[in-house]
Symmetry: C3
Subunit: 223 residues, 3 copies
């Protein structure tokens, strides 16, 4: 039913070519690694590692597709979106140590890349499916951060990105999604802009990690 | 696709006029306040306050719309349903103290009003979309209490309404939804009845708060 | 919209006759008992017992139907799927002791039967709705274990099936769903096969309980 729309989204975003799909799946891979590593740290067994890898990698996109009525979600119709996180889970299962030490920085970098890509594709898809402007921004953010929130809920942690010591994560995604939606509504959207915004979100996130940027804490009110 | 149905629901409920939509958004506002306050109490930063405000205010209605296949959910197509809880989150962020002290009773009162309104609109919408009678009652209850449950899950608390010291919350919603569904199935439904039931749910909840009514605890069985 | 598809699924699975529907509802009943018992152990009141019973019994099937776009989910259109877990919740509420002592083994056996049945019906329904092969297996597993995971999330526990001391639970469901999907794709699927696979999943789970079979824990990596 949504195939013509989907084709329109693909055409509009230019994100369905081999190059961009590869980039998307790289983001899925490293989101899956972050989920698997949390499961290892929590002492879960095989099923826990696989489940947290899948949920972290695919949760944001699945929530996005459910909200838009685009069922079955991409993750369940395009088999690569399941194979890639399953491979990530297998690698983490047999060799999680390097990811926790030497590979910590690459994992954070690719997670930041996934954040930017998912914020862009989520807000574009939501715009094409008729969400309101604010709704499309929110769906872009949910696409980018929803998997990580589900990961933390299943691991019985409060979501990491709500922690006062966390570095900017949802805010760069929101900024990127806002740029995309404004451009979309003013017919300024293009594949080039999509890449530029994804890179911008990535850069803000990496800078936040590097220089310790945090989002503000609640004020004390009228006391 | 669902627009004619939606129009039928609106016509049937009489809940889409300016007055009732305002009442609905007032409920959204105070649900959002309760979510933001929990985030403040948990020590979350800005993103956590915004996320818990949005989830508490909109979670019940989003689950209802997903279950009914009414996508995208109202919260993502009618922009007021996002702006109002975002404003609530901003107010809580800069001035949460008065809500915790002087304004505690008003927050509870408006939360009770939201409970009644959401139980009514949820069970009416579910009936119009062809849920079974018991299913429509359950969807009414989920609309009313689902946001609060998601709020507690994201804050890593057991749901407050399951606590043995909690005052009646889901039960008045279930009673109200049952009255609505019985009336709907016997062609006795009207906008006047909707208001009366919402007021009744509100009154039971407020009485439960005032006089400490609790729901029963499990019995000891055959020992 | 999905009614012809649903009829095809029913015809293909042969799982809609009186006998099989009864078996399915027996699984729902004992899943509901396991949810209610966890609520009792957590010290929740009436609403908590009812909510955990419903979520455990119906959560997996509801997630399955949402992912497939089959709304409203069966649980909200076929009233028996709500009445049965509500009866289970009522029984647990007034007489939970025998389920915790004398009836513990029967509860585990029927839970294992539900696991096998839901893995089969979930993967068949997903195949008929056009999920990828791996996606259909995953939806089968989610149908079987999703209710239990939601139960644990609402009770604020890490999911029991991720615990390193848990006995095989998701893995037999995954094996069963894989057999079903392979058969479906090669036109070897039949009602007899469905029953055989459900029995096989049941047998592996019961053997895992009896002889303490666990799934592997993460390896130590390259240290």
């Amino acid at each position: 039913m949504f195939e013509p729309l989907q084709a329109a989204v693909d055409a509009a975003t230019g994100l369905n070519s081999t190059l961009e799909r590869t980039a998307d799946l790289v983001g899925v891979f490293f989101f899956a690694v972050s989920g698997g590593l949390l499961a290892v740290r929590k002492g879960f067994e095989l099923v826990g590692v696989v489940a947290l890898s899948l949920v972290t990698a695919l949760g944001g996109g699945v929530i996005r597709d459910l909200l838009l009525g685009a069922t079955p979600p991409t993750a369940f119709s395009d088999v690569a979106y399941l194979v890639v996180p399953l491979v990530a889970a297998a690698i983490v299962f047999v060799a999680h140590r390097p990811f926790e030490s030497r590979l910590r920085t690459p994992v954070q970098l690719f997670d930041a890349a996934g954040l930017g890509l998912f914020a862009v594709t989520g807000s574009v898809k939501a715009s094409a499916f008729g969400a309101s402007a604010v709704g499309a921004v929110l769906i872009g953010v949910i696409s980018a951060v929803g998997g990580g929130i589900l990961r933390d809920v299943l691991a019985n942690d409060p979501p990491h990105l709500f922690h006062p010591n966390s570095r900017l994560y949802a805010i760069p995604a929101a900024v990127g999604a806002t740029v995309i939606v404004i451009a979309w509504r003013n017919d300024l959207y293009s594949g080039t802009l999509a890449i530029a915004v994804a890179v911008g979100v990535f850069a803000i996130r990496v800078a936040a990690l590097r220089w310790g940027w945090r989002s503000p804490k609640p004020l004390f009110g009228d006391r």
